[in-house]
Symmetry: D2
Subunit: 348 residues, 4 copies
């Protein structure tokens, strides 16, 4: 058993990590931290953990030295800005870190500071961090000390368009990414805007043109295309807990045979078991990936408009956060990427 720690247990990604670690055969959660809840057991703050093997684990105040003693890898499930400080302390003590915040996702410090309106206190670590998308960087993740776990929206968007840009199937200068997310993506902080009665029976767009996940998507898709990409990325709030569906639009490049596009996607993801290219005529649904690490891709080639439309679905808490973090831990610790991760969606 390898030992892992969790810094920040009170949010939805912390909760999801606990769910996944409860079923993991080779990772043992040895420390959980929260300033606010320190001294209480997990089952005291989460009654649904009564009767499980983690029920009596006592929450402690985060302390790098103590985490270093107890953990081989530490997950950071705290807000950006806070994460960079803790990450630096842990790395200095030789602990490997998987950061679920945005602090180390962008390679460019200026881009980070411009979009997040925060000064980065650990710029030296930016080049050291590996972007934790296993389909693209499995080898680098395996040997990394610091993994920047991807954002939820970017996971769905990058996997949707990466092969198309990589193979030059579509034009890189006319991308529209229209994403819709369940409300767990908004976090677990008390606020009027995310009250049940403000979200239920409603659908709305938000942060159009300025969502902070935009540069992360552009960074990876630019790497894919081999050129700088600027794209439209729009976010919407769904009246449901989990799930992101991204509908991505791209113009098919001149000279590309539309009938070959599917084969390219299937080839690109042939040995990636978490990405499922759905059969012709089948489009992704968020429920099909609920509670899993899958990213489902439905492909539509539209001859009328000469567009490729990719419909990508993930569970934002699992594949978009904690499940991907566990996959990264698996890779870092030399286990099979899929160890302990559920394959069966909770349906319906």
């Amino acid at each position: 058993m390898q030992r892992v720690g969790l810094v920040g247990v009170t949010g939805y990604t912390g909760m999801e990590l606990i769910r996944l670690l409860l079923g993991h055969p080779k990772l043992r959660l040895t420390q959980v931290t929260s300033r606010k809840e320190s001294g209480r057991t997990l089952q005291q703050i989460y009654p649904f953990l009564q009767g499980t093997k983690l029920a009596e684990l006592v929450i402690v105040v985060p302390d790098a030295a103590s985490l270093a003693l107890d953990c081989d890898v530490v997950f950071l499930a705290v807000p950006h800005g806070t994460a960079m400080e803790i990450a630096a302390e842990l790395l200095a003590k030789g602990v490997r870190v998987i950061d679920l915040s945005a602090d180390f996702r962008l390679h460019n410090q200026e881009t980070y500071e411009a979009w997040y309106q925060v000064t980065h206190s650990q710029p030296a670590l930016l080049s050291q961090a590996v972007y934790g998308l296993p389909e693209l960087y499995a080898k680098e993740i395996a040997s990394a000390d610091l993994v920047a776990n991807p954002g939820c929206y970017p996971t769905s968007a990058i996997l949707a368009l990466y092969p198309a840009l990589h193979y030059g199937l579509v034009l890189a200068d006319d991308l529209v990414i229209d994403s819709k997310s369940g409300t767990t993506g908004a976090g677990r902080k008390a606020s009027v805007g995310t009250l049940f009665c403000e979200v239920s029976d409603n659908f709305r767009a938000y942060n159009l043109g300025k969502h902070r996940h935009t540069p992360e998507i552009e960074q990876e898709l630019s790497l894919s295309a081999g050129r700088d990409i600027t794209l439209s990325f729009s976010t919407h709030l769904l009246p449901m807990n989990r799930g992101i569906l991204t509908t991505a639009y791209a113009k098919i490049a001149p000279g590309i045979d539309p009938l070959e596009i599917r084969a390219h996607y299937e080839a690109f993801y042939a040995d990636k078991k978490w990405v499922r290219v759905l059969p012709e005529g089948i489009l992704s649904e968020t429920r099909w990936v609920r509670g899993t690490n899958f990213c489902d891709l439905g492909l539509v080639v539209d001859p009328r408009t000469n567009r490729l439309i990719v419909v990508s679905a993930i569970d934002n808490l699992c594949r978009g956060a904690s499940g991907q973090a566990v996959a990264n831990a698996n890779l870092m610790l030399g286990m099979g990427e899929e160890t302990g991760l559920p394959f069966a969606a909770l349906m319906p």
Copy 2:
């Protein structure tokens, strides 16, 4: 009081018409028809009508002669294909018709037959029908005998982009319309795909590249732009009853000052009380129009991508169907367009 009839009372648009007519000061519902439910009273099939003035109205089998005796205007809330036959009979008897189906929305018979896979039995009526979008055709509607009530998606999409194309603010050859609809849009027929447990806690795309509302949107936006438009129109199913949110993307035309776009929209809709151009920074939400005839437009000019994004929200059953039908009846019968239509959204 003017007398109106309703052919097809068992679907959601029929139900919504009854709701609106219950509050209408100048329209009296004199006949409702359903082959399946004939002989029963409205409150027998809809217990929520007990205690209202329409509770005891007896449902009859549809009969053009009888409708002609009792009604000044008849609403058709029956499937496409069926509607064209009844419309022709009613018009022949001198009754004015508002058809909520798709049968008379497309001016071009071939386009209709290609997208709907039905032979049009009344092609002569196509040129006589007026497209019932009051913001565009109020005058023609007032004198029409046959009004083709617009589709729900097209209402949201056309109002979103009409001014931009009309004034040449955006390029006409690169439009992406990403729409999301509540499930009432799928009708009230028993089917596994629209069971509660198949829709709840789920979000999915459907009919990408081939939704039948596409040619209707293209027809009206082509008229707006003065040239033929082909566009991407995508539809998604929301786990909620009412509401459509459309996110429309267009490249800003060369030479256009992005700062003038809002002013053009405000000018175009200045005297249209049902279209609300929301203030800078405010984006549409489906709940804000729930139960009303409003179409809310949130405008985002994105300088990074040089795109105009319009977020358009309607209640698909009210503005997207029965409320618009009542507005059309108001116009046809010489009343104020807004007579009897609710201004206050049911919030939350």
Copy 3:
């Protein structure tokens, strides 16, 4: 037009009052107050009011003297404890008051203080206040200066059992009232417990054995039965916005013919248009009363257990709060009780 004021505009009952007043032909909203939002217009805090006649009304700091100048009746939509102070000030200035809080619902000061854990600062007003349930106290309401608008749960529970106890159809010492409420009942204050992701896809009981609406129900049903009643009242939280469904259980009294029970209910509510005794075999549904002032009663006489079960449905925001408040204002101002109140449920 009569002039009304609203103290407390930022909660769900304030929002609902605005919806109802927008459609009211004889009440004009002349003042709205909120300490926090003063200086802003209604449409600035509620964008869905753009384009309505109340859009530009400016919110002010509550001031009894100013309210007295502008209003014939004032609605208080503020928390208990706060309401009693403002009510006293307004009454002292000759303004009639409808208090939507709990401050004046209980006739007995000690009971109030025991359940609400607050000292009542205006005990002299308790005897002056009329309990604003129109079916029981229409005459007293008409001449009242201070109306205590009933709680949402009590409205559903009292109307469900009043006739049974009044006519001695059931035993008074064995009542179980199991209620389920939509989440608007929990108010519009930021809190983790009522976040969307904590309420959605979940159902739970709360406050069993100690809900503050218990003494209010016991007070009115004791009056009905002519003896002191102690009963079990349980509350549950539904993952939906509006609606209360109460399932009330009572043992049929010896000597009562079960077949006569329905007739007694129909007689009791014969001239009460907001209470609908549903036909045999039809049970109440919350959607059937959505947005209306109806209280629907479904009656089940169970010969196996010798129990009467009454299923009562209301819209907690309309009939359970603001709609009932408008009905009370109508009565106080000498209009028909139903003036301006919607009869048509928003279905579905």
Copy 4:
């Protein structure tokens, strides 16, 4: 690996069995049947199974001889009436059966026929069948050839009240059981009444006084109390997929110290890991058991009314059907009851 078969794969309980078997280390699904879908693979009817080990399993027409060759135990997930025939055939061929329908739950043939309005064709098997509630009958289940898997509502109700009646803590003649269920309980058959738009944003009671699960609850609680019990059992439909919450009311028996009730419950369930008696002050929530086999019991002793109120929560598809069936299979095949069953709820 033990081999299991599934007769009836197209409903929600079949779907849930597949989810659970995908994660089970010792049960291998060797045959799935459906008359309607025979010839197709599991992933063809359930695209969410793509990429799992069961994806390519081909559905066949049910045939007892073939099932007997391939399976040690067969799960029947078909409607009552149908199940009794298949069960008899399988038993005759020496296959052990877990029947998820109601056909063998009631020991008394007349009671079955009266409530289900069906003639029982296999009355001889009724006495052979074991009621598959592991907390009560683990030993009998282990050696049974025919297990009658309990109904969902009865599972929640029996576990809620069994200890109270067993120890004589409450009166047996005054029980009220008010249950609320997610909509998966209504099955996966196309019908207008369970369409999304008929269930969403709504709450209603149904089948009051005549739900078929009543005699099943009465049978087991009568055994617990040692006397015949007649009780009120009411069912309601929740706008969510999974979960049952049962609120059970009982009068505390004379001479019982209310403070001892909790201890009795804790003792009764001390070695039953799937039943969690929640701490004082904590009430059950359906989400806390989502996807698991837990039954959570929240206890409230109300001194005002001298009542014990038990709030019981299960996942109706897992603990109330397929999870319980797997636990029964585990017992029958000599494995630990909990083998392969998830302990971690999908939260939120």
